[in-house]
């Protein structure tokens, strides 16, 4: 399986990254892409920008571990994850997850699995810039619940894993 995990400060062109994944692979019958975009508001208040802090080294390793797990669970032909860090303004892309498979079910499921884990396990932290200053974004319990549903049928996983 072709796996690409990349962190970058630069703008992210989701269409180019997705096309790269599929190019030259005639066995791919399904390509699912998810793009996370910086919204212009947080809790109903307009924002100027998001700044993403990350843990270099662990961020890549953690994403790679989940990509490996996704490829064990589903018959994937390729996965690309690109996550930005640094300052991101509304309308810009934050993250791309692209999954390729022969058929759509695996590609849809794997993309959702990877996004759910990225939200709760990949060491990134969002700080929001508003007119009245900066504040850290709180983690949402709904994201924990979304990630948790994938671990339910697994045995022998540590709670922290």
């Amino acid at each position: 399986m072709k796996a690409t995990v990349r962190l970058q400060r630069e703008p992210l062109d989701a269409a180019v990254a997705a096309a790269e994944l599929a190019r030259g692979h005639e066995d791919i019958g399904a390509l699912v892409t998810f793009t996370g975009i910086c919204r212009g508001d947080e809790n109903g208040k307009p924002i100027a920008a998001l700044t993403l802090e990350h843990y270099p080294g662990m961020a890549e390793a953690e994403i790679e571990r989940h990509v490996a797990e996704a490829s064990e669970r589903w018959p994937l032909l390729g996965v690309t994850v690109v996550h930005r860090y640094g300052r991101i303004v509304p309308g810009e892309n934050i993250v791309l997850v692209a999954t390729a498979s022969s058929h759509r079910a695996a590609a849809f499921s794997a993309a959702e699995f990877l996004m759910d884990y990225l939200k709760t396990r990949a060491p990134f932290w969002k700080q929001v810039e508003m007119a009245d200053g900066k504040s850290w974004v709180d983690a949402r319990t709904i994201d924990d619940a979304a990630a948790e549903r994938w671990s339910a049928p697994r045995r022998g996983r540590e709670a922290a894993e």
Binding site: M58, R121, A122, P123, A139
Partner: protein, 85 residues
């Protein structure tokens, strides 16, 4: 035991530095105990670790639970719940 500590997001801001190397006194065996000890090192540490239950930890760049032993750790990181994606 000497260990490198790394702090991220508001844990880093409250402590006022991104990383440091500390000598952990004997008797501090787990991640949770390390957080209690760190919280006693001064006002900024007390502020950072006052709600230690919400703080997550990683040893050598892998997530760990509070009851994990720190013996043999090269690098221990403390950070708030993650908000990426």
């Amino acid at each position: 035991m000497s260990v490198k500590l790394r702090y991220f997001a508001w844990v880093r801001e409250r402590i006022g530095k991104p990383e440091e190397t500390v000598d952990v006194p004997p008797g501090i065996a787990t991640v949770a105990e390390l957080m209690v000890w760190l919280g006693s090192r001064g006002e900024e540490y007390a502020y950072a670790f006052k709600n230690a239950k919400v703080i997550r930890a990683a040893i050598d760049q892998r997530h760990v639970r509070p009851d994990t032993a720190i013996k043999g750790a090269g690098e221990i990181a403390f950070f708030p719940p993650m908000t990426g994606g």
